[in-house]
């Protein structure tokens, strides 16, 4: 960091000229003091204003709606916690939570492990390394809808590529949408395909900040590549790992587009005939925008928020404790 320590000649008073006329600038001075005091707030204000309008207000308003019997025509009776009481006894809600958590595990764990491996490979001296590094970022540029449509065809029961390959090794065709395990696998595959490269790049950036002499010392001490990876690389990029775990958890809890496109027909929002792959955000959408039970939908939305918060804290504690 080079800091310019030379005097700013253009604006500071040139030496030898008349002394600054302090008394005359009383008002100006006061304005400039107010400015100094408040302009930093002004600069950070856009974020907070936007957050208040698009983040905080909806959050609070949703909580308010969730305490009412609220349909399309507007506020109905205040029902207190009735919506939450019904929600806790609603098997479809718990089913959707179960599905979401299942797909979260299936999508996050392999994804981050693959990203770690990919990042350490990209951290080597390779031919065309920039090309490869940019290449892993391509899936994230693809639109979710396109990913959903293409993978839905790959996992099609009658004409899908996966069933075709399984057929080559004499495995019976799988009806991917009919079971939990199969639909979760198909959807997790979409998520993994799309996000692995993104996480790999975050890890790669963190890896490049690790001092080279650590590896040199380890090599001198006789540590192999794999030992170096687990004992030097991983501990040194822990903040990046914590970040990706939390981000993946948040994204996983809000999983919506992939399973929606994977589902078929006019009632795709139900996520399969027996709600095999309906996520909790799909359930929220179904209740609020298909059944027009806004109160109930808002209660589901708040439960998603609480779940994410709980999972975030758990993530944070686990990753911090193992430090």
């Amino acid at each position: 960091m080079a800091t310019d320590l030379r005097p700013r000649t253009a604006t500071s008073t040139p030496p030898g000229s008349a002394p600054p006329e302090r008394p005359r600038t009383g008002l100006k001075d006061r304005i400039s003091r107010v400015e100094v005091r408040w302009s930093p707030y002004l600069f950070v204000a856009p974020f907070f204003v936007i957050f208040a309008v698009f983040g905080l207000f909806p959050l609070v308003y949703t909580a308010w709606v969730s305490l009412h019997d609220w349909d399309i025509t507007g506020a109905g009776a205040f029902v207190g916690l009735d919506n939450y009481v019904t929600l806790f006894a609603d098997p479809d809600f718990w089913n959707s939570v179960h599905n979401t958590l299942g797909m979260l595990v299936l999508a996050t764990v392999p994804q981050l492990l693959m990203a770690l491996v990919l990042a350490s490979l990209l951290n080597q001296k390779l031919r065309g390394v920039t090309f490869l590094r940019m290449g892993v970022l391509l899936p994230i540029v693809t639109s979710v809808a396109a990913v959903g449509i293409v993978f839905s065809q790959i996992f099609d029961r009658d004409a899908g590529m996966v069933n075709g390959l399984l057929g080559l090794v004499n495995v019976d065709a799988v009806d991917w949408r009919a079971d939990k395990w199969s639909s979760w696998t198909a959807i997790a595959t979409m998520v993994n395909w799309r996000w692995t490269g993104y996480n790999a790049l975050i890890y790669l950036a963190a890896m490049q900040a690790i001092p080279k002499d650590l590896y040199e010392a380890a090599t001198v001490d006789g540590a192999g590549r794999i030992r170096q990876f687990w004992s030097i690389t991983v501990p040194n990029i822990r903040p990046a790992i914590v970040f990706t775990v939390i981000m993946s958890t948040i994204a996983g809890m809000q999983l919506f587009t992939e399973p929606l496109i994977f589902g078929q027909g006019s009632f795709a929002i139900s996520g399969g005939s027996l709600r095999q792959f309906q996520t909790v955000s799909m359930y929220m959408f179904e209740k609020a925008f298909r059944d027009f039970d806004y109160g109930y939908g808002s209660a589901v939305a708040w439960m998603i928020f609480l779940l994410i918060t709980v999972l975030g804290v758990v993530n944070f504690l686990i990753t911090r404790r193992s430090k």
């Binding site: 400015e35 302009s39 009658d158 004409a159 009919a178 009632f267 005939s273 059944d291």
Partner: protein, 427 residues
């Protein structure tokens, strides 16, 4: 130290003037003329373009603008929102029959068309179509019928031939006077062509049979949920299960990509087709399959799936002009024109008997006399009362049937689940 705050002030000034400037740019130009612009809200395709031009020509000073949303599923929540907030619904709105009952529950949102001379028009509509959009005491009419989803049975001639079945549409129609005969034909078909589905998915057939089975389905006329006490629903369910167990289904969900491809690839041989579905089939099967699909009568005595109304919301600022336009569009002449444009089958007896409809043949479907086939089906119709959550309950029953098709539930379990889901929903 002295510099930064001043720059900040400059930046803020610049920023705020920028905001002010962009705020000024948002104004809209107002037309100064005295013309009345009527906004018509529709979904899918109503085929009104020619009619608008004609109406504008004969009514100087009236301009018509149609605002269309492709899918009914996207249109419905918007319409509900416009009506609930009292803004945005325009002057004339289209209402589909499956969502009509929820709007009938709030008749104040719509102009009583009887006040605008609709009374003498009742003879221009099939009686049940007129009834559907009238309040029970008959004092208020909120909508005028446009089309009805007259039902036919579409089938693939080449697949029938390969299975040793007749291909001529009259002979095919005679194969299935009843649904039992349809199942028997299906078994015969599967014996010869085991790899082809006799029909696409059981949900569509279930719906068709349900609409033939009585004057109400999941709700009785007092909006009480009767899904488990209405014998007609149960017997339709049982008949559907019989079809699943006979292995007639291709297990392809309607409106899925596989379903779209199935029309082209011939993965199923028959499908009950409301008149508006002919366009879908033609588009999906493509020009190379022209003449392979044909239309004949549906088993049982006709049925209806879908069909719409035009209504004038009270929020319209030109209620009188809007009501006149709605009357024009739903007149026998208007309905005939819409039929010719988009195959939307008329709900006006005069239009149904119009030679332009009666003699209409669809060249894509082997020159099938669709005007006559659908016309006969419509005249055999009895009105069916659909309650408030009809469509949502239908979705759940459809899912239960699908679970049986997938082999994930036994028929008994699936029925219990459907009833349970319906009860939880209607609670």
């Amino acid at each position: 130290m002295g510099v930064r705050p001043r720059r900040a002030l400059l930046a803020t000034t610049l920023l705020s003037s920028l905001v002010a400037a962009s705020a000024c740019g948002g104004g809209t130009a107002d037309s100064a003329s005295g013309d009345v612009t009527l906004i018509v809200k529709t979904f899918s395709q109503f085929g009104y373009d020619e009619l608008y031009k004609e109406y504008e020509a004969s009514h100087p000073g009236i301009k018509i603008k149609e605002e269309n949303i492709g899918k009914l599923g996207d249109y419905t929540p918007k319409l509900q929102q416009w009506l609930a907030t009292g803004k945005g619904a325009g002057d004339v709105v289209a209402i589909e029959e499956g969502i009509l009952s929820q709007f009938m529950a709030k008749p104040d949102q719509f102009v009583n068309l009887l006040d605008h001379g609709a009374k003498e028009l009742s003879g221009n509509f099939l009686p049940w179509k007129w009834q559907q959009a009238s309040t029970s005491d008959g004092s208020k009419v909120i909508g005028l019928g446009t089309d009805v989803g007259a039902q036919g049975m579409c089938y693939r001639r080449d697949l029938f031939e390969a299975a040793g079945l007749p291909t001529d549409r009259d002979a095919v129609g005679k194969l299935w006077p009843t649904w039992d005969a349809y199942i028997a034909t299906g078994r015969q078909f599967k014996a010869k062509s085991p790899d082809v589905g006799f029909y696409d998915s059981t949900g569509g057939l279930y719906l068709n049979m349900l609409m033939q089975s009585g004057d109400h389905t999941y709700y009785d006329a007092t909006n009480k949920l009767v899904i488990d006490s209405n014998a007609a629903v149960r017997s339709t369910w049982d008949k559907s299960i019989e079809m699943v167990q006979a292995g007639l289904s291709a297990d392809i969900e309607q409106w899925s990509p596989q379903w779209n491809a199935g029309f082209k690839n011939g993965t199923f041989a028959t499908i009950p087709c409301p008149s508006w579905m002919l366009g879908t089939i033609e588009k999906q099967a493509g020009p190379e399959n022209k003449g392979k699909w044909d239309v004949t009568k549906v088993p049982g005595n006709g049925a209806v799936r879908g069909g719409s109304f035009l209504a004038v919301p009270t929020q319209s600022t030109h209620q009188k002009e809007a009501a006149e336009l709605a009357k024009f569009l739903t007149s026998a002449k208007g309905q005939t024109s819409a039929f010719k444009a988009k195959n939307n089958f008329p709900s006006s007896p005069q239009a149904i008997d119009d030679p332009a409809v009666q003699d209409f043949r669809n060249p894509y479907f082997n020159d099938a006399p669709v005007g006559k086939i659908f016309g006969d089906s419509v005249k055999a119709l009895k009105p069916v009362y659909l309650g408030p959550d009809n469509n949502a309950i239908g979705d759940r029953v459809g899912n239960a049937l699908l679970a049986v098709e997938q082999g994930k539930l036994q028929p008994g379990e699936a029925w219990a689940k459907a009833v349970d889901d319906a009860k939880r929903l209607a609670k």
